[in-house]
Symmetry: C2
Subunit: 422 residues, 2 copies
């Protein structure tokens, strides 16, 4: 696409210094726009990043046999009453609940356990109908008292939630572990150098322990404690501070070879809950087992917040000039800059077309503006490759990777292979 | 995918006869599930149809330079107050409005004109920043007093809404006509034999006339009047009954060669509104023109409801046995049936893999159930092709198109080319 007709352009104004890095860079670059406190529009650039993240999640979940659907956001009180969560003071703090003009009561979705259980009750009769794993990408609402600038904690956000239903605890545990591994693959493919799988409390979802997927970052709201592994130690101990009960001398509770515990701030980008039979018993969703007996369904739920993932990515991948998107989720692979006027534009047009023909996504800064502004914008938007066509580059193309300082002069065909090879 | 592990299976129960055909067939087939009156989950089969419809819309809108984004669903009252629509009694009838625990007032989105205008106010300063065309697919809420069974009129639905902003009325009119043509292409590609472009009132959106895209169907809620064209008459006169002022003797007001007016019930699947400067003036969104003067932005909005489109498709394309999906939007192209036990299953497995390798989407009914049930299910779900592998078919495959009665015995390679050729 051409940046001259792209909506919107990057913003030039300066921002208050107390804003988080992700809020400043994403807002300046034109990835997001704040509608009100805790609520953002995903602008075309941000939307493209989310779509890339969604596709990675989709591929990994489909590979585990999960099926995509779309559930409603407006929930009738009656279904939430079945588990008692409607009236749970902790739920009422975060769930928007209201009456319509006919005094019917509704809640806005912040999660879908009750709704999935209601759906399963209509289709799951026998052990032959299990297991079931369904997910959707949809909007969540949370009456967030701590809404902060940026997209790490908002009142309305985009989320993938997966629910799995099983005949036995063993089958649930097995699938739970498969999804745990799938999540690790998802975050790796998205580009995070490391994701910590952390034991945590179950919150308003379950009395059992859950697992969080945490990205270490100073702006994270969570504090996590994990094994500061020595060589050869394979310990995976990691807990959220909420549940951590330390040992004397800061020793790691997970291993016996004298490792110590380390602490860090972290951003939670995903969480998974082994819910057991709490929901099926409360909502009376039973199946008939092979012996003809009625049994409650075993249930688990799994969330990833793609918008929050974007915030975490920007916190991890940026420098003083702007964002540095990993290739796998970048909104475009190439920021193409043409300088020095009309004759060059013809050259740039050719490069632009060649990239498009090779299915390399390119945003061409074809504006009639200064070289300095175009270079600064390339760094702010942070696509993996910057290409420059100018009088200086002659019949070649100047290529620079966003994360490296080095420029190279290359033929068009070399540019294509360089980008395709990563 | 394999039907044995697919969620959910078709339902066997009978439905009340007063339900609409789309409600019955989509519910029985497992395309949708009702959560409460006027609210449905799109189950995996229904979700796949919606995704196919979305892709067609996306391609046609992107070709007209529109850009995809995602806007919030929870709107602050203040922005809706700028146009006065928050307090408009007609709006209050359909918009869910509520206060949170801090007495802040929110509305749930049924449309986004005010929100888009608010967004444009931050980015559009000069005529150089125009035109802008942005759209999203998102959930809409409507406090619908007439919620009916099926997905034609619901309280929560999925919608594509596009908004365009222009420097001049002429530019707006030009783009409005382009999108009108794009919509005609969309509905043609989706598979409707004809879509009527009908003049209508602007409702709560504008005092100007709008255009509706109507599919003739007895279950439609609208009555439309249109020229019953004679040979060679090119008249496109069509109006919603709401605004129709007839001529004596039932003459068509649009042409002078004696055509008459015909009336029909129809389902509205899209609508477009030339909004003019009503919103930009009320919300004070001005741009600086080439002469340095401040001018209000010209604005238009355009909607298509993919879930309602599905309902209309089923009303138009069905017979007494089930749905007949057009190829372009069918959830799978092939319903593969294997009969006669295990040795056949090996054959069927080969066919299944060949289809997948050729990127032909196939649902394989590999259940241990009767031939009659499988055939009935193939007809109910209505994919374009039914393939049967059985002892009778030998080393060939029996192919039947859903909309034709005729069966053919073919080699695998012939099956592939037949399906690819359409």
């Amino acid at each position: 696409m051409r940046y001259s007709t792209f909506f919107p352009k990057a913003r030039k104004q300066e921002f208050k210094e107390d804003l988080s890095t992700n809020a400043i860079l994403l807002t300046k670059g034109g990835f997001i726009d704040q509608l009100m406190a805790g609520s953002y529009t995903l602008l075309p650039l941000g939307f493209r990043v989310v779509e890339n993240i969604k596709n990675i999640i989709r591929e990994e979940l489909n590979a585990e046999g999960a099926q995509e659907l779309l559930m409603p956001l407006l929930h009738p009180r009656e279904i939430w009453d079945q588990t008692g969560r409607w009236s749970d003071p902790e739920v009422q703090k975060i769930m928007y609940q209201f009456k319509d003009v006919h005094r019917r009561e509704y809640g806005l979705s912040f999660t879908h356990e009750e709704i999935v259980m209601n759906l399963l009750s209509k289709f799951v009769k026998s052990y032959k109908d299990l297991p079931v794993a369904v997910y959707h990408f949809s909007t969540k609402f949370r009456n967030e008292p701590r809404a902060k600038s940026g997209i790490l904690r908002t009142r309305e956000f985009f989320m993938k939630d997966l629910y799995s239903a099983h005949a036995t605890e063993a089958d649930m545990a097995d699938y739970y572990n498969k999804i745990k591994d799938a999540y690790i693959r998802v975050f790796k493919r998205i580009g995070f150098p490391e994701v910590k799988v952390v034991e945590a409390a179950g919150g308003v979802f379950t009395d059992k322990k859950s697992h969080e997927f945490q990205i270490v970052s100073d702006v994270g709201e969570d504090e996590i404690l994990f094994c500061d592994r020595k060589d050869k130690c394979e310990c995976k101990f990691a807990q959220n501070k909420e549940i951590y009960k330390g040992l004397p001398d800061n020793k790691c509770p997970g291993c016996s070879d004298g490792c110590l515990i380390k602490s860090a701030r972290a951003i939670e980008v995903g969480n998974i809950f082994p819910l057991g039979t709490k929901y099926s018993e409360a909502q009376k969703v039973f199946y008939t087992d092979e012996g003809g007996e009625q049994k409650p369904i075993w249930f688990a739920s799994y969330g990833i917040g793609p918008t929050r993932v974007i915030g975490a990515l920007v916190e991890v991948f940026h420098d003083e000039r702007g964002i540095i998107w990993p290739k796998s989720v970048a909104p475009f692979q190439v920021y193409l800059i043409s300088l020095d006027g009309k004759s060059i534009n013809t050259e740039a047009q050719k490069v632009y077309e060649t990239l498009n023909e090779n299915n390399i996504e390119v945003l061409w800064d074809d504006r009639d503006t200064s070289a300095g502004e175009k270079f600064a914008n390339a760094d702010l938007l942070g696509f993996p490759y910057r290409l420059v066509v100018s009088e200086k580059s002659g019949d070649k193309i100047e290529l620079k990777k966003r994360e490296e300082g080095k420029e190279e002069l290359l033929e068009a065909s070399q540019v294509i292979s360089k980008i395709n090879e990563g």
